[in-house]
């Protein structure tokens, strides 16, 4: 088993006719993802890499009632509308790749989705992949070649690929890799993703790739201390050398209100018995030791 994405995943690409949408539709198809339809208002009737395009999600579902997942490549100004359209049409999982969505918009649609029972991943995230089964995102196909016991939760994109790559090289495949996104407001945070992995029997170990800012890693540590997350974890936190008060790329990576420093995160994690790697490669070492392999 995996989380979020599995062999039953049937994907709708919102914004499929844009350059990103189109390119990643191809990559997802190449990976083996079942991309069954795309939506771009006004472009219904076209095809993108053989995938039929519709004007609306409602029309899509009429033709493809098996669609259960949507990935959004719609530009920031229109992305919120695409999210509402997906949620209102009962799509169960919506992965938002789009970055630069206004935070007030995100705070509203994230709450709305929760209310309607839709799981949101992102915005501003690389998506989700369950190696060799299905990918709903922009993570590089070449990295995700091996299924296995490691569940990865990450706030970063490339750093995730980096660590995943090293893990795969060392023989540790992944159950599912979730890039939760770098924005301050995201639909599913590390804690919620960790709870999903906790219930997934196939996932034996967790890799948590955090960064400075916010309190997701601290809250994750609390759940471990409370015994609500019991699987062994190897963590890495980026931004040890980042100066406070400056944004480093991710809007989420800013330290404020005395929380979210590298030190507070490492302290919280270590006091919950979680080992924190000092370099990306050390993550592999920790997983090797934990697994006894």
């Amino acid at each position: 088993m995996t989380i979020l994405v599995d062999q039953n995943t049937r994907v709708l690409v919102q914004g499929i006719t844009g350059s990103e949408g189109s390119r990643h539709t191809l990559y997802m198809l190449q990976y083996g993802t079942k991309v069954v339809a795309g939506v771009t208002p006004g472009k219904g009737g076209q095809q993108v890499h053989g995938v039929p395009v519709y004007d609306s999600v409602e029309e899509t579902l009429r033709r493809h009632p098996d669609v259960n997942t949507s990935i959004i490549f719609v530009p920031a100004r229109f992305a919120s509308d695409a999210v509402y359209e997906a949620v209102d049409n009962g799509i169960r999982l919506v992965v938002i790749i789009t970055e630069h969505i206004p935070i007030h918009d995100a705070i509203r649609f994230v709450n709305y989705a929760k209310y309607k029972g839709t799981v949101i991943i992102g915005p501003n995230c690389p998506g989700v992949v369950s190696p060799t089964i299905s990918k709903v995102g922009i993570l590089p196909n070449s990295v995700y070649t091996r299924k296995g016991p490691v569940g990865i939760i990450s706030r970063s994109g490339t750093l995730t690929y980096e660590i995943s790559y090293h893990l795969t090289q060392a023989g540790f495949g992944q159950s599912t890799v979730v890039g939760v996104g770098g924005d301050p407001i995201i639909g599913t945070d590390m804690v919620e993703a960790a709870l999903m992995f906790e219930n997934d029997p196939e996932t034996k170990y967790l890799v948590v790739i955090g960064e400075i800012g916010g309190d997701q890693e601290e809250r994750l540590a609390s759940l471990v201390r409370e015994g609500k997350i019991t699987k062994p974890i190897a963590a890495f936190i980026a931004g040890r050398t980042a100066p406070p008060g400056k944004r480093l790329g991710h809007a989420g990576a800013i330290i404020s209100m005395g929380v979210g420093t590298y030190e507070s995160k490492v302290k919280a994690l270590e006091s919950a018995g979680i080992r924190v790697a000092r370099t990306p490669l050390e993550v592999v070492k920790i997983i090797r030791e934990i697994s006894g392999k």
């Binding site: 630069h100 590089p140 990295v143 490339t158 980096e162 931004g239 050398t241 100066p243 790329g249």
Partner: protein
């Protein structure tokens, strides 16, 4: 984006919040035109905290003194920011100072109202030393600021009768501005209670979400921006750059990987000179501009370029490096780590340059640091 104080006050005042009587000027001579009662406070308009300690707020007893201070401030570059505006404000008869703000609570994904009877000091300091002195009231976006929350904060602050009524009005305005301007923060600190029984916003900090600026034509990025000149340059090319105090140049793709690269530099006893994230799918031009910026930076003694290609393609990155070298020459040691999409093509393109390509960031940075340290620091 952090609005300058005067702009934040302008917005709040428009909705009825009382601010000190004042005038914003762009030239020292504008002081003559302002009819103010002296003494006044002369406040350099800069988008960062700690102004008072930096001598950027001074009291002027006369027009001449105000003009002297204003000319001292205007045109000055502080933390890479050029002062273009100065605010002159009359004093306020303060009985007590408070703290109040509306901001975003990430973990609960709601808005939050913060208030404290301890005004004028850093709220993070209060949060650390006496968290019980901060009122925290969640505001769900689906319900807005409710009266029951206003009642609770009034009780916490000890406001009753007329004061409670005035504070309630102030909070409603702050929340409306918070929503209307897509802000991440609307903060009044200190909020003064005057002898006349009014609340007056002595200093105002409003952070507007950069991603929502397109909806707010009354806010000008150029005028209000808190970016340094390099950062503005970087933005033009579409990469993200932050200057840091060290001597090792860092370029990565993706914020997390770039931060991790900075961290590795420190791990190998170096000091990163910057955070430079070329982003996802960077083109040849972006890589060229980024590398050129660092090659020209005199503080920088060596550079690590750490790319894990996903959307980003190794060949584009390699061509960008070639272009930068053509323009400014291989002036400094460069350690390149290139993995992922089109890695082999990238290696082929880079081969003629004689630059070594590493398998891992650890190797690249390790060897770079050995070179730099071997060469004496």
């Amino acid at each position: 984006m952090r609005l300058l104080e005067y702009k934040g006050k302008e917005i709040l005042a428009k909705y009825g919040v009382k601010v000190p009587r004042g005038v914003v000027i762009g030239k020292p001579d504008d002081v003559d035109k302002a009819s103010l009662n002296y003494p006044v406070f002369v406040k350099a308009q800069v988008p960062f905290a700690g102004r008072a300690k930096m001598g950027l707020v001074k009291r002027a007893g006369s027009k001449d003194e105000a003009k002297r201070i204003a000319s001292e401030y205007l045109g000055r570059v502080i933390q890479d920011f050029e002062v273009k505006k100065v605010l002159l404000e009359e004093g306020v008869d303060v009985v007590k100072e408070y703290y109040v703000s509306v901001t975003i609570d990430r973990s609960s994904r709601t808005f939050i109202l913060l208030a404290s009877p301890e005004g004028g000091v850093d709220i993070e300091e209060i949060a650390r030393t006496s968290p019980e002195k901060i009122f925290r009231g969640r505001i769900h976006p689906f319900e807005g600021l409710r009266d029951y929350t206003i009642n609770a904060v009034n009780k916490f602050m000890g406001f009753t009768g007329d004061l409670a009524y005035k504070f309630a009005s102030l909070l409603r305005v702050m929340y409306n501005v918070f929503e209307a301007y897509d802000t991440e923060l609307v903060e009044i600190n200190p909020l003064a209670l005057t002898r006349g029984g009014d609340f007056v916003a002595l200093d105002v900090k409003i952070m507007v979400d950069d991603n929502a600026l397109y909806r707010h034509s009354d806010i000008s990025v150029e005028e209000e921006g808190d970016l340094t000149r390099e950062e503005i340059e970087a933005r033009k090319y579409g990469f993200h750059y932050v200057e840091l105090p060290g001597y090792v140049g860092v370029i990565g793709n993706g914020a997390g990987l770039t931060m991790a690269t900075m961290d590795l530099v420190r791990e190998f006893s170096g000091e990163p000179a910057d955070f430079l994230d070329v982003g996802g799918g960077a083109s040849r031009d972006v890589v060229k501009a980024a590398l050129t910026l660092l090659l020209k930076d005199e503080r920088i003694r060596g550079i690590v370029l750490n790319i894990f290609g996903g959307i980003t393609r190794g060949d584009e990155v390699a061509y960008g490096v070639v272009d930068a070298f053509k323009e400014v020459g291989a002036a400094k040691p460069l350690a390149i780590r290139l993995k992922g999409t089109n890695e082999e093509e990238g290696r082929r393109i880079l081969a003629p340059l004689g630059v070594k390509i590493y398998e891992t960031a650890e190797e690249a940075i390790g060897e770079l640091m050995r070179n730099l340290q071997g060469g004496g620091r």
